[in-house]
Symmetry: C2
Subunit: 247 residues, 2 copies
């Protein structure tokens, strides 16, 4: 294995969690040519209505997708962690319907569409794996939609805490789990559709209830069961368990 881009091998892990690939296919993913790019915090590196020619693999840092209304109000519709492909869907729909913005300083690996098209054309399993990866992103979005519409403020905030914990810990969450916390309360407000002020109050409630707390740049799970109950959280939508053979 000559080329070894960590962002790609993280993405490959993610693909292989849900799809069966052979050595050639693995190698094709790991050898994808691209350029690294450092992105400053709070920078839209994909703008709304851009016609996109590249996909962005997140190497480090955190980025989010933002949808918009005609009056310019924005809402976060997805969070991309290292190992995620932020806009794989652009392969089949290049006219971007959401902006992608860095949350903190982010390192991305930028790959021209052409190369993805080529390896997808050469392997049925890979093209399915890509499609599946997008489908799982859509499943997460669907759950965000449900929680944003059906949960009270406390539940929404708790739900995101649960999700972040699962995604950062690959599904293994328990009392005492802790992980790096990179979002501000304003970001939580962008995700939940609440005001930052109210997010603050909900975080306090969660803390005072002994479910979880954020101190400094770290989140600590104090009582996972309590947090899950607040959030009515069911982690299956994240598809973090290895899927059974899927053609």
């Amino acid at each position: 294995m000559i080329n070894h881009v960590p962002a790609l091998s993280l993405w490959l892990d993610r693909l292989e969690l849900r799809s069966v690939l052979n050595d050639d296919e693995r190698q094709a993913v790991l050898s994808l040519p691209g350029q690294f790019e450092v992105i400053k915090p709070n920078h839209d590196f994909v703008r709304l209505d851009d016609n996109v020619n590249h996909v962005y693999s997140i190497a480090s840092g955190l980025t989010g997708s933002f949808g918009q209304l005609k009056n310019g109000e924005r809402q976060m519709t997805a969070l991309h962690l290292p190992g995620n492909m932020a806009n794989l869907h652009s392969i089949v729909l290049p006219s971007s319907i959401s902006a992608i913005r860095s949350i903190n300083e982010t390192l991305v690996y930028r790959i021209t569409h052409k190369f993805i098209h080529t390896i997808a054309a050469d392997s049925l399993a890979l093209s399915k794996a890509f499609w599946r990866d997008c489908t799982i992103d859509a499943a997460v979005l669907s759950q965000w939609s449900v929680m944003n519409a059906r949960l009270p403020a406390l539940g929404k905030v708790a739900h995101i805490l649960c999700e972040m914990c699962c995604r950062f810990s690959n599904g293994i969450c328990q009392d005492g789990s802790s992980f790096e916390w990179q979002l501000t309360q304003v970001h939580l407000a962008d995700i939940t559709g609440l005001t930052a002020v109210h997010v603050n109050r909900m975080l306090r409630a969660i803390r005072e209830d002994g479910a979880a707390e954020i101190v400094g740049r770290r989140m600590h799970v104090l009582n996972w069961t309590k947090l899950v109950t607040m959030a009515k959280f069911d982690p299956r939508y994240l598809a973090l368990e290895k899927l059974a053979e899927l053609l």
Copy 2:
């Protein structure tokens, strides 16, 4: 053309709006074998966590996808009109993460996954077209997420009225447009996350403002511009314009 299933030719139209297909590919879609099935109103014909082997093409009637929280509360995450494939994504993710329920009496054409896999394997353009179809569904979901989180109740209801009008009229909406209205106020509440009572009040406000009205089983646009402004609606997410050559 021997086989001629209207549901499939509607779906093909939808695919060709966004993808370029040749005669063989067209014929492959139109010849997909399947069974018609009549579904009574308010029936979950795909249940949560089912392991799905079929995709459902909607021939007539209206169906919706429903997500769920752990406590059983439900939220509609998509509406499927005739010509839509209700769960094409199940091709790559058979474990259903949302239920699909008929809204009124619905005629579906049920196709075994195997046949979709076969024609997708035979044609790169088709497999891209399928993936793209799913991606556009995801774009609609994303916009629902934005409107549900960012709009006040009046805007949410107006937004769905706008969307339904565009989807039923293929994007051509104007003062005086009217189309069959099949949703109850409870369904609107399922979509917007509001209570049915409040949906009722918002519909009245929209009516009294002279923007739109629902009488009997029909919706009438009275003032399209006014309705769009209320909803901060931008129809581009529906991708109803014919897309330029997309590989």
